[in-house]
């Protein structure tokens, strides 16, 4: 039973992001450190734990079919799938050090620059031949702040999805997922194969050991092109016309002194300016 994990390389959360003055919709990359999307670590950890437990019991899997990659390596692997430029290999290497068996990278610029729906379609094509029973992804990509990818891939593979899992329980037939919604949570049973995106709290991602880092060097990162996958990126669906820093918040009021005095000023401000009282 195979598990596909959707991966992405993103700028470090701490990175200073500055729009590129010459490339519309892009950021200046020269000074930026890129990392594995933080949420993807929950997905990788969950996948690796499932494999370490002995994999999934027999159940549904994505039918292989024609057009996909002849990837299926037999019993029980967790493999990463990523769209990104060549530099994304370092993020994949990190995921391999965390325990994935190998990774597939689609690095055609047409794929890298595509919108989330197109990328989901491309990833679905890449994953198909791998015939996974479960597809895991991070809850959100912290660069584009999109959380749709797992659902889009699920649509194109014609399988169900659940987003934002805080807990996943598997039996051979289904995944029971607990996800938060406003005011509570939902328990959702998805028949396998299914795509599930992973939230913080699902698990505690491990630190890669140095031994695992060394082992990851021998693991395969396979680059595939859109042509090999037999898919096209299609017409552009959206375009970033401008990227800019949000307007700075206007300078605020600052008070210091006796707690009673500053609190009274605070109340006055809440009533007069914020109008919440």
């Amino acid at each position: 039973m195979n598990i596909a994990v959707l991966l992405r390389q993103v700028p470090d959360t701490e990175a200073k992001v500055v729009p590129d003055p010459d490339l519309r919709g892009r950021i200046m990359e020269s000074e930026i450190k890129f990392i594995l999307n933080p949420y993807d670590e929950y997905a990788v950890e969950e996948a690796v734990r499932i494999i370490e437990r002995g994999g999934l019991a027999p159940g549904g899997q994505v039918p292989g079919g024609a057009g996909g990659l002849p990837l299926s390596g037999g019993g029980g692997e967790a493999v990463g799938f990523c769209i990104g430029p060549d530099r994304a290999e370092t993020a994949l290497r990190s995921a391999l050090a965390l325990g994935l068996a190998r990774a597939v990278l689609v690095s055609d610029p047409a794929a890298v620059e595509a919108d989330v729906v197109t990328q989901g379609r491309i990833l679905a094509a890449a994953i198909k031949g791998f015939a996974p029973s479960l597809i895991l992804a991070g809850r959100e990509l912290i660069d584009t702040q999109e959380d749709a990818l797992a659902a889009v891939v699920a649509h194109f593979l014609d399988i169900p999805h659940v987003l934002g899992a805080g807990k996943i329980t598997l039996d051979g037939e289904k995944a029971v997922v607990l996800r938060e919604v406003e005011g509570g949570s939902l328990e959702i049973a998805a028949s396998l194969p299914a795509a599930v995106s992973c939230s913080k709290g699902l698990n505690e991602p491990r630190y890669p050991s140095l031994m695992a880092i060394k082992r990851s060097k021998a693991k395969e990162i396979r680059k595939v092109s859109l042509a090999e996958l037999g898919v096209q990126s299609g017409p552009q669906k959206s375009r970033i016309a401008e990227l800019k820093a949000p307007p700075p918040r206007a300078a605020g009021v600052r008070v210091e002194g006796e707690p009673a005095v500053v609190a009274a000023k605070g109340i006055e401000w809440m009533a007069d300016v914020a109008k919440v009282i």
Binding site: D147, L149, G184, L186, G252, G266
Partner: protein, 322 residues
């Protein structure tokens, strides 16, 4: 003229506030472009169609019966797509709630549409339709042109104003859609009685490292209760185990847009700001006058939260009593 279709999320038989904001936004778009506005409701919600009509929807498509009692991305996406096809919709709007974003993702794939999620502003008279959404941990804003014929947009809750309700009524159109439900909601678990979710609250009182421990959250909770707000927390407080993860605001927590955000003992990291930077007003209480949050706050109180916050609560009770 291609239409605008809003998915109205129903909770306890009522159209959610966030969805009413989305209908108001749809109504504004309709006015600017001359396009007709419709809404679609899934599940049994007798009063919903009427509400949506008063908010400006000319038609309300309703999908009820088996398969629609509980949320299902597959069945709901099929119903919204069916309504959209009947209505000739090009623009699909919904609120960026947990389920709104879930549905939008599946729907956009199904329609091969342009998807823009968690949008914070719309260029109402733009062509092609252009929206603004935060990216890179909210460090930047992207102006996105939606080029595809079909567009699916989710709007961040608490950002778009509610529209007026007028004496209008909508034509109700029952629809059916194929429901092949493979992801089934087994049960909905409600949060504790009286607890307000941070993503829905008008006011959030949050605690961070400065709160010092689980006990320290009492003063934060009491102020939140007095303001009828929700309790939030920074990652530091959650990671320390002082408060459950569901309260976490920020990069790895929830994105919130309350009218007022009160940060108690929170230094204000980039990651925290990514989650609450779009709050309308920010109050910070911190002993460290140089903490980053003090620069971003509209009202910064330099002081010990354990002294200031209880007085705030007492004074508020007095102010409310007046």
């Amino acid at each position: 003229m291609a239409g605008i279709l809003v998915w109205a999320e129903v909770s306890n038989g009522e159209v959610r506030k966030a969805s009413r904001e989305a209908v108001a936004a749809g109504s504004k778009l309709a006015q600017m472009s001359g396009a007709p506005l419709a809404a679609v409701v899934c599940g049994d919600a007798p009063g919903a169609a009427e509400t949506l009509g008063r908010l400006g929807a000319a038609k309300v498509f309703t999908a009820a019966g088996p398969g629609f009692e509980k949320y299902s991305s597959e069945a709901y996406a099929a119903a919204v797509a069916e309504a959209g096809q009947r209505f000739g919709a090009e623009i699909y709007l919904m609120s960026a709630t947990a389920l709104g974003k879930d549905l939008a993702a599946r729907l956009a794939a199904k329609l091969d549409a342009a998807l823009a999620s968690d949008v914070t502003d719309v260029r109402w008279d733009s062509k092609p339709l252009t929206v603004i959404r935060p990216v890179y941990s909210s460090k930047l804003l992207a102006t996105v042109e939606l080029l595809s014929e079909k567009k699916v947009i989710t709007l961040r809750p608490n950002v778009f104003p509610l529209g007026p309700e007028r004496d209008l009524s909508a034509e109700i159109v029952p629809i059916s859609a194929e429901t092949n439900i493979r992801a089934q909601v087994l049960q909905a678990l409600k949060a504790a009685e009286g607890a307000i979710d941070v993503t829905e609250a008008r006011v959030i009182v949050s605690g961070g490292r400065g709160v010092g421990g689980a006990d320290g959250f009492k003063v934060v909770e009491e102020l939140a209760k007095t303001l009828r707000g929700a309790v939030g927390a920074s990652r530091a407080a959650v990671d320390a185990g002082w408060i459950p993860y569901k309260h976490q605001v920020g990069q790895t927590g929830k994105v919130v847009s309350p009218v007022l955000y009160i940060a108690c003992g929170i230094s204000g990291s980039i990651q925290h700001f990514a989650g609450m930077g779009s709050s309308k007003f920010i109050i910070a209480v911190n002993t460290d006058k140089d903490a980053p949050i003090m620069e971003k706050a509209d009202f910064a109180i330099v002081g010990d939260l354990f002294k200031v916050v209880p007085i705030l609560k007492e004074e508020l009770l007095k102010a409310i009593a007046k």
